[in-house]
Subunit: 153 residues, 2 copies
DNA sequence: TTTAATGCAAAAGATTTGCAACATG
DNA sequence: CATGTTGCAAATCTTTTGCATTAAA
């Protein structure tokens, strides 16, 4: 198992690679590469913690005190629209509840957000890497299959 | 593989079982079982679609026109506090971004919401059940390991 | 009868939008 | 220079809270 390093040279290299990729993709898409966007990219590319908008905003404001929160929102959704970042969780709208407490897995439609449960002994019994104990105490694991559901295809 | 049926007798049985479990757990915890709560339970137990608060609210309002949105919120969080339902996605707060587009898996701390990426060839290459093609076109799959991180333990 | 839950309305947060000033290509 | 982007403030939308009234045990 390979753990993504949170610090050290590996992190910097990856951050730099992302920054390059993003700036080039932005240029290629005809969108302007502003000072604010570049600084937001810089912050985000270096951040391994899956930050929320507010976190990025606060970090960027250290170097660009006049940056506004809505610019951070717009820039993050821009990266998302360009397919350069993804969101955690199934959809960009409000929180949703799962009534199923049994061990199960999810099929998530990336278009409409539909979530269907499924069960599979083979997946439920999957062998988790030993290295996980470094991160913490494992309680349970589930597989999230992403795809396009029948209705959306 | 077993697919949870979205309709038919299997669904009704499971809904009924949940309803019983919830009402008994609520009684046992000393919380009052009000008309509103019962109707919210009924709606939620029958709903296989991982509904959000608004959806539950609208459905319940058909039978209980005077029910208020905040009661639905309070009831859903009550079930959550009693450990009878879970939320989708890592945390109950705002949306977060993932800068890593490479195939990877997540370790999610259920206490503080920390998310760490990890890679594992064994998990990435796990064989997905054939039955999944019934649900749609599979794009990719990831494992979400839930646990308690080092800092929270 | 006692205690907790409800509905309402207001508050608090989070996210988006309209628009004039400004910066990029 | 033309156009897209920014910052601000206001508008929306979502979720939570205080409190008097009502209902459950």
């Amino acid at each position: 198992m390979i753990l993504n390093s949170q610090d050290g040279p590996g992190r910097d290299e990856r951050a730099e690679r992302r920054l390059t990729q993003w700036t080039e993709a932005v240029k290629a898409s005809g969108v302007k590469l502003t000072h604010q966007r570049l600084e937001i990219f810089r912050e985000l590319a270096a951040n391994q913690d899956h930050p929320d908008v507010e976190t990025v905003f606060r970090a960027v404001r250290v170097r660009v005190p006049t940056v506004s929160l809505d610019t951070v929102y717009r820039t993050l959704w821009l990266l998302h629209e360009l397919g350069l970042i993804t969101t955690l969780g199934p959809r960009r709208d409000g929180i949703r509840f799962d009534v199923n407490l049994e061990r199960h897995h999810h099929f998530v439609c990336v278009r409409c957000g539909l979530v269907r449960d499924f069960e599979s002994d083979a997946l439920t019994e999957l062998p988790l890497p030993d290295g996980l104990t470094e991160l913490g105490e494992v309680l349970d694991a589930r597989v999230e299959v992403r795809g396009v559901c029948g209705a959306c295809r």
